[in-house]
């Protein structure tokens, strides 16, 4: 499984410009996110093993205004609404874009420039993605030109 904080309480709070505050609590295989952790804990402790479930409540909205973000047993993200949820697409988009993004990226497999960096910390991941592969050599450079580049890299600095 991708999440490693199983069997201990793990809290995370994030406040964003959209004024959504989330608290994550790990309960076995279940992570519940909500303004009311106690309610969420009771409600979602029956989640299926191997499934990461997140419930998000938006400030000022009723309990029914929820949706789930989940991961199946292979770690593939699933994103679905419950039947009894009345969410507008704009809210889903908002939370997808603004709130869950960092969390999802931290837990999903992240591959950058052919390297799996999922196990890096958030800060390391950010640094890696900013620094590695930042030099775009454009269309003129193809793998057939590697030997030319190597020649330069080996110290052929004449000009």
């Amino acid at each position: 499984m991708l999440f490693t904080f199983r069997k201990k309480t793990w809290k995370y709070r994030a406040e964003t410009s959209t004024a959504i505050t989330m608290t994550f609590i790990a309960l076995g295989d279940t992570i519940v996110v909500g303004e009311n952790p106690q309610y969420s804990r009771d409600r979602f402790k029956e989640s299926s093993p191997g499934v990461l479930t997140i419930c998000i409540e938006k400030k000022g909205q009723t309990v029914s205004d929820k949706f789930f973000y989940g991961q199946n047993i292979r770690g593939r993200p699933i994103f679905k609404e419950r039947d009894d949820i009345n969410l507008t697409s704009s809210i889903i988009d908002e939370i997808r874009k603004e709130n869950l993004r960092t969390y999802i990226e931290a837990k999903e497999k992240v591959v950058w420039q052919g390297v799996d960096i999922s196990d890096l910390s958030g800060e390391e991941k950010e640094f890696f993605m900013k620094f590695v592969g930042a030099l775009d050599v454009g269309e003129n450079f193809t793998k057939e030109d590697l030997h030319v580049l190597e020649e330069e890299l080996y110290g052929n600095f004449e000009d």
């Binding site: 420039q113 052919g114 390297v115 960096i117 196990d119 890096l120 390391e124 640094f127 890696f128 900013k130 620094f131 590695v132 592969g133 930042a134 030099l135 775009d136 050599v137 454009g138 269309e139 003129n140 450079f141 193809t142 793998k143 030109d145 590697l146 580049l149 190597e150 330069e152 890299l153 080996y154 110290g155 600095f157 000009d159």
Partner: protein, 186 residues
Amino acid sequence: MGISRIRYNDTLRFTKGTRVYLDTNFLLAIRIDDDKLMSSEKLTNAKKLFKKLLVSKAELVLSPLVLDESWYIHLKLLYEKDNGRGSWRRDRPLKNKPCFISAYRKELKEFTESLFSDPRFEFVNVTQEVAEKAFLYMVENCFGPRDSFHLAMAIQSGINKFVTIDRDFKTGEEEDIDLTVIKYSS
């Protein structure tokens, strides 16, 4: 004592705080966007090795020489990207229109500041002692002038890990050198 060589492999591990001198070619191999070069095992291995260094909290050591060489290659690649293959040699912009560099200020600044501002990177200085050591490596151990300087800066700074893709980088039983060269070329 001497210079030993190990090749990159996925099981390679570093202890926390290991100080590793990064050769210019390594620094550039991780900087190059190899989106079109995904089949390049060498470039990908360089990036994997860089990740290992990050994970192990290694101290990444650079020198003014590495910075100088990196700027040069950045300029060459960026110039050829904009002006076509072979334009660097044809136009000789450093001699004929040196102010072309200002067109790449943004890219160079971003690269340089990322090295200066990040605590993972450490710069070592060239001192007279380093130069004297480099001279000895050059005349007594048959290293080229540049390699002598890289080596001297690393050794003088107490570093015993040196990352390079330079397949010509010499190894041997030098008495006063204790260095492991990590190569990630095949």
